[in-house]
Amino acid sequence: MAKTSRNPDLIRGVGKYSRSQMYHKRGLWAIKAKNGGVFPRHDVQPKSEPPAVKPPKFYPADDVKKPLFNKRKPRPTKLRASITPRTVLIILTGRFKGKRVVFLKQLPSGLLLVTGPFKINGVPLRRVNQAYVIATSTKVNIDGVNVEKFDDKYFAKEVEKKKKKGEGEFFEAEKDDKKSLPQGKKDDQQAVDAILLKSIECVPDLKTYLSARFSLMSGMKPNELVF
């Protein structure tokens, strides 16, 4: 519950209600009445002895600066009103630029989780930044698609273990294991897409729409386009 003042400002520094009116508003009369006509007093409680602290064994040579206290909590970027789950988005940058893609959900990092579906336009389950996306007014039915398991960790790059440089290994090719998609990720893609494909095929032309790329034609002015 936010602490709102019961005394709105008329101008900064000038409240609407006087001291006596505020006394009544805050119910100080009721607190007093509850306590027998006097404000409740909290006597100073004898402080319990703090546990004996041993003098530290080690004092740093120079004064160590304490870092400033930071209470900031990271939260996902505010989603534009035009971007809701089910919306078809147009990706503007990267290798999938111009592709029309279905938006699934916003991840905790603020990025958008998006899928082609892969069979239609080759875009896999992918993260996309809101700023590099145009939201269209086309919606796709995504009932039944389970996106609970996808979060930013799912998309994190695999950390390669550091190989110790031995003399013999130095000349060995380090590229022996090519990075191929783990089967689990392929299965996830198919699971999501199977449901999506059914709902896409229900709508006439939606499949061709999603497989076609968006591009600006001659004479098209983006500032006049309605997406």
Partner: protein, 100 residues
């Protein structure tokens, strides 16, 4: 991306300020139309003899800052000032960062 031409610098009669360039975006003819383009990234792409990162093409990125005057010309600031030889050359106005 939208095509544009750039070249002139922001200037007064005898002084020019090369950190800001003027860009004429095709199809944009009024100050009101420019508001859509504000903040959009702009790329000046040019060729050079020496390959950099495997390509002969090089790019200077910038962004549209504000309109310039009433007839759709736009001010753009680039990461480094545009070279004078680029005056009158093609510039690509991108559709991102998008706000649609």
């Amino acid at each position: 991306m939208v095509k544009g031409r750039q070249g002139e610098r922001v200037r007064s009669k005898s002084n020019q300020y090369p950190n800001t360039s003027l860009v004429q975006i095709e199809g944009v003819n009024t100050k009101e139309e420019v508001s859509w383009y504000q903040g959009k990234r702009v790329a000046y792409i040019y060729k050079a003899k020496v390959k950099v990162s495997g390509s002969h093409y090089r790019c200077i990125w910038g962004k549209v800052i504000r309109p310039h005057g009433n007839t759709g010309i736009v001010r753009a600031k680039f990461t480094s000032n545009l070279p004078p030889k680029s005056m009158g050359s093609r510039v690509r106005v991108m559709m991102f960062p998008s706000n649609i």
